[in-house]
Symmetry: C2
Subunit: 429 residues, 2 copies
């Protein structure tokens, strides 16, 4: 038997209903915030990702040579493709340009719990602005998305790499040593950070103060201990977030993200239910366009781990209602088959999810199938009843059965039951 | 400047709105017909596709060896993955099992008009049934999807490979020569088909009769000239399609599809506006599960070329309305910035797509941006007006401006304008 490739997944109808529901809810929220969707290819020139993340990323990518000898990679993330698209084709769009995207990403690593070789990201980029307003807009969108997902327990932590960077700069740390130190501090690997700071000429006092910065979390007031430009900027971001109504955001100066392209505000969202792999969203302000051959443009963006959000919802026991067929149409005899198809077509044209016997089964087997696919009602098409323009409508939950005029079937089904038809937009609007 | 890989596309916001609109409409139609969505990985073991389509398909695939030495391929189509998924995990689902899917597929060939290396397919499979009812159900879904797309000009052509196959069998053609002949007849390459038929022992009379079969098109009555089991079956399929209300379907015995896994009914949909690449949908009844290590199960399915439908709609001049931001909120002074953000958040929470000044622009530049992003209304937040709990609401189409109480803004915007907010479900339900 041929299996799916290791580390990949197939999604059943029930899983897809939950996934499309969340995707649709995210799309609606992003559009309501004035962001518009783009889509880029599944694969890119591998160079795009090595320029952004360094050559070591090749080890973690599905990279291959195509028949034309070009180095191609299945995309490991979506920010670089979005910015490549911007540099190629979108520089004349009005700014700020607010974009979002959703799709598969790929990484080549040992498959493990919550991490797959094929995974889904939902993300957004606000391009061409660099102000507390634009940073707050992006953090606000991330917060609105997470809230909309229905996740109960999560933490939004916002920092600013300027607080630490200015401290390092004032201490005379040479530019080429900054990233190494920040990366260790970001991971709270203090024992490895200390010798690096010492070698870079930082005194023990300054080093310990830097470590204290990365341990600083709490309400916006904690910033008072670290006055300066970055800190004032962050206070402004928090004031705007508050005006937007997001009061559950906290400061965490330990969010450092030691990559050179980050320029200021950085943030993360955790879902504690997920344990070690608890980060469900990460983002910040950055500048990448100049790496890809464009002019320098400041942006702020984030990516949400779509699969992790779903996993966290599952761990919290959040139930997404399963889609059901509304009506299953059963002809009682061969003579009634075409009538049954015509009735089915009429329901479908009126937006009512309907199914019909396709296997010429007997009544008993048809009821069994109707139950198995979760149909809400059965419509029994009998010769005697049809002669009078009627069919029998049976409620498969209560067992109640009544005669209904064929012409009144659509209205009857629209009004019956509390559920109605649950289309893919159900509950989103 | 780094470019996207050759033969791939990026989609702009405007393009994505049209694409998501069509995707959503297709999903609603499929669900209304009782089909449920699945999703399989972007790549598969290459063997899956060579088992189905023969080793020559490797030439046309993005196939590569992964770091574990496995032959992997970006999927060239979605029927094989769907049936692999069925064989792996879905054999216990009630039958008929009605599935649909949507996603990217890949082929390695010279990029040309209307053909891309990355393209999108929407398809469906009805698994575990083999009757005129199940075939008609699948053709009916294809017809309903194409109709829903808004395409004006198209032809649905239905054939049955049994008509020709029984003719070849009766003429004593050995099994191993059947596919070769059918493939030439399918492509109407009669000059190449004739010597093959002669070599297979067919008389000239029978050969010309076979060619005549492939030229037979028209209403269901044309089947009278070719009595037999296959022909009677097809008549039944057409009777059910008629009961479903699909009267624009015609017989075309020239639809042959010379692949061994097809078992009976075959069909195609053309959009003549597309010229040489006019086929937008192809399908039929088949049996593949036994190739993938499962028991033999009869199925009927099809794939729609999503990109070709969009191209055909474009050629027909079908306009999909562009999504617009409903309200753009402008603070007249720095003091009003937080108020502006609070008003924006309130609109968004109420499902109204709203944007706000993020660049601290002056009034003139803000109006210019509002116009550039296509905002329908501007909300001007001034100090004097806010002191009285009001804002100015300007209709950016008519230029009309009025004072509106802050608390009444949501209701006002919901009622204003004929468009209202156009969410992603607009027009689908």
């Amino acid at each position: 038997m041929i299996q799916r490739p290791r580390g990949t997944r197939d999604f059943t109808p029930k899983e897809m209903e939950a996934r499309r529901h969340l995707e649709g809810a995210f799309r609606t929220v992003a559009e309501t915030h004035g962001f518009r969707e783009i889509c880029t290819p599944i694969f890119e020139h591998a160079e795009l990702f090595t320029l952004k993340s360094g050559p070591s990323i090749v080890e973690e990518m599905y990279a291959f040579e195509d028949k034309g000898g070009r180095q191609i990679a299945l995309r490991p993330e979506l920010t670089a493709p979005a910015m490549r698209f911007f540099v190629n084709d979108l520089t004349n769009y009005p700014r700020p340009l607010k974009l979002f995207y959703f799709g598969q990403c790929f990484r080549y690593e040992r498959p493990q719990s919550g991490r797959f070789r094929e995974f889904f990201q939902f993300g957004a980029e606000l391009i061409g602005a660099s102000a507390p307003e634009s940073d707050a807009e992006v953090i606000g969108l991330a917060a609105a998305l997470i809230a909309k997902s229905g996740l109960g327990e999560y933490q939004i932590r916002v920092g600013h790499i300027g607080v630490l960077r200015s401290m390092l700069r004032d201490a005379g740390v040479p530019q080429e040593k900054v990233s190494g130190i920040l990366q260790k501090l970001d991971k709270k690997m203090y024992d490895e950070a200390r010798p690096l700071m010492r070698d870079a000429g930082m005194t023990e006092e300054i080093s310990e103060k830097a470590i204290k910065v990365t341990e600083t979390t709490g309400p916006v007031d904690v910033l008072k201990d670290f006055p300066g430009e970055a800190s004032s900027y962050l206070v402004e971001v928090f004031r705007i977030l508050e005006a937007y109504g997001f009061t559950d955001v906290k400061v965490d100066l330990g969010v450092v993200r030691g990559l050179d392209y980050y320029t200021g505000v950085v943030f993360e969202v955790d879902a504690p239910k997920l344990g070690a792999e608890k980060q469900v969203c990460g983002g910040g302000s950055y500048s990448l366009t100049e790496l890809f051959g464009g002019e320098k443009v400041f942006s702020t963006g984030f990516a949400i781990g779509f699969d992790r959000i779903l996993l966290a919802l599952e761990r919290e026991g959040t139930i997404v209602q399963e889609h059901k067929v509304e009506a299953y149409v059963i002809p009682v005899s061969d003579k009634m088959r075409l009538e049954a198809h015509a009735i089915t077509a009429d329901l479908r044209r009126n937006g009512i999810a309907a199914d019909v016997d396709l296997m010429r089964r007997n009544l008993g087997k048809n009821f069994k199938y109707a139950d198995a696919i979760g149909a809400r009602f059965a419509i029994i098409v009998g010769e005697k009843e049809m002669a009078e323009g009627s069919v029998a409508l049976r409620d498969l939950v209560s067992g109640e059965q009544s005669l209904v005029k064929k012409d009144e079937l659509v209205d009857k089904l629209r009004n019956k039951g509390e559920s109605g038809v649950r289309g893919r937009c159900g509950g989103e609007n």
